[in-house]
């Protein structure tokens, strides 16, 4: 199964199954040091692997990038790093 941030590209390629994230390129599993979010993406993809039956299934993980960024700022502040 695939994770994708480009639904139109994935639709063109016609993969068997994919998890779509409305996030930027290079951030398919979220933001640095946000372990819970990174796990959530993987587990959602694995659930899709177990559940999907129709070729071309694209499932949304409805987490807005704006919310991810807000969480990232607090995560990186805890880490003492600049976002």
């Amino acid at each position: 199964m695939s994770v994708t941030v480009a639904r139109d590209v994935t639709e063109a390629v016609k993969v068997p199954r994919a998890l779509f994230l409305p996030w930027p390129m290079g951030h398919h599993f979220g933001v640095p040091f946000h372990r819970d979010l990174q796990r959530r993406v993987i587990l959602a993809a694995l659930l899709l692997l177990e559940e999907s039956a129709e070729p071309g299934t694209i499932r949304d993980l409805p987490i807005k990038w704006a919310d991810v960024r807000r969480e990232a700022k607090s995560t990186l502040t805890i880490q003492g790093q600049r976002l």
């Binding site: 139109d8 390629v13 409305p22 951030h27 599993f29 796990r39 704006a66």
Partner: protein, 177 residues
Amino acid sequence: MTAADKTPAPAADPREAGTQLRPGLWQTINERYPGSMIRKESFVSQASLSKPLAKARLTLISSCGVHCKTDPPLDVCHPFGDFRFRRVPSSSKQRELIIHQLKYPHDDADLDLNVIFPIERLQELHMERRIGSLTPNFFSFIGYNMDPERFERTVAADIADAVVQQEHADCALLAPA
């Protein structure tokens, strides 16, 4: 009705709307690099997982261009792309790996590789027995190439063969960068 009423509402900010951040990406790239994008006419058949995930062996395949620091990097400057791949031991630590790619922003992934190549998260899920096992090696290559047909014939076919015949994977997580 005022002029303001006739003005179409601005498109919702995709960051707030939860839609694709760069809409029309396939078309944009295909115009910039004609013929570089893949479009298939039919779906790949969907294979079911033959065993519970807790007993399955998983591999990770990514176009993020990560490799072991002890391995030479792939060629990111070749105008047609580098049609090779690198094996990344699934037991690797972040400090042993490096991203060598120019075609996507990896500033955040340089801080924490799990942003694009979640090797540590997969190691944890295996230790927690959520995933039966990990293949000894994961796979990485450069996503940029100008000949998708050659790419399918070489990199994609070679990785698929290695995943099935050498690594004996039951399933694969694909992470295009």
